[in-house]
Amino acid sequence: MTVLINVPAEASYANVLRTTAAAMAARCNLNYDRLEDARLAIDEAFAQIIAFAQSDSHVECSFQEAPRDLSFVLSCPTLLDTPLPTDSFSWTVLSALADELRAVVHDGELAIHVRVHEPQEVSV
């Protein structure tokens, strides 16, 4: 199932996304550690995206739920016309928390795709 949520591109809305991410992670039956990772990851991703958002814009967040697998995409209008810098601490933290991560700048829109799931552990 997909869940959509739209928030102003302002830091004070991060908690709305964190709470939603936690609830979605629980719906996916992710374990506590991964739930916490998802919370932190959406916080980082949101911080990244609002840093490059156009003023007075909104961030759309779409969550995709699957068993033990949560994906979300944050997107907003941006002034960026180059790829999102990936040498920041924020990006480093985000890539450590997420199992899949990519940022796309296209047609004046910045989108950050994040996936947190529980791997088949020890499938060596």
Binding site: R18, N29, R34, L35, D37, T92, A96, Q120, E121, V124
Partner: protein
């Protein structure tokens, strides 16, 4: 400066970055201290031979140390309100279940063990993050907490050891382990799938269990 100190110094920025994310929950300097311990642990345990980048190893170690610290803090509240009490109970349940299950528990598992609803667990998790606790517990010197063993980090080591141990198995042994213990198939199902006898499945399971145990004792 030796390489260990150098590596720690180089990555202190990461600690600050993560600590800032949690700064509404506790004193920033305390978070940096605890996070730094997570970093030091990561520096000491990092094995470049496993092929991961250092930061992808260090970040979970830093966030793990900070979260553990915050959970400890919430568990130390003495006379809390209703929600805070649920938050503290949830923290303890997470730690206990992590121990008993040998993995991180799911929200339904936490809810069941506490006899509360899943929504209440989520509320408690939020409460754990939201409360800015000022510890009035002067006896609890930070150093007393800093010296504790972090069970989550120890599990990381165990996981790595198990992974290495599994890598040494033959293809057939690994297939049996995978089907029996990870897919949860019965001996007879595995036997049918792999076209071997049930007795062989049983023998291989027992042999691998012994091997893994021997390998893990050395950890």
């Amino acid at each position: 400066m030796d390489t260990r100190e150098q590596q720690i110094a180089e990555h202190l920025g990461l600690v600050h970055h993560v600590a800032r994310r949690f700064r509404s929950h506790a004193d920033y300097d305390d978070l940096v201290q605890v996070g730094t311990l997570g970093l030091i642990r990561a520096v000491d345990n990092f094995d470049p031979a496993l092929g991961h980048s250092f930061s992808s190893y260090a970040v979970p170690s830093i966030t793990g140390a900070i979260r553990h610290y915050l959970r400890d803090q919430s568990a130390s509240i003495k006379v809390p309100g209703r929600l805070q009490e649920a938050a503290a109970r949830t923290s303890r349940a997470v730690d206990q279940l992590t121990q008993s299950l040998g993995r991180s528990p799911t929200v339904p598992e936490i809810a069941q063990s506490l006899g509360i609803s899943q929504d209440q667990v989520l509320e408690a998790i939020e409460a754990n993050h939201a409360q800015a606790i000022v510890s009035l517990d002067a006896e609890q010197a930070p150093t007393a907490q800093l010296g504790r063993t972090d069970s989550e980090l120890e599990q990381v080591e165990t996981r790595i050891a198990v992974r290495q141990a599994l890598a040494q198995l033959t293809a057939l042994e690994r297939a049996v382990v995978e089907q029996r213990f990870y897919r949860g198939l019965s001996q007879s199902q595995v036997a049918k799938d792999l076209q071997i006898s049930q007795m062989q499945v049983s023998r291989i399971s027992a042999r691998v269990a012994t091997q893994l145990r021997d390998l893990l004792i050395d950890v």
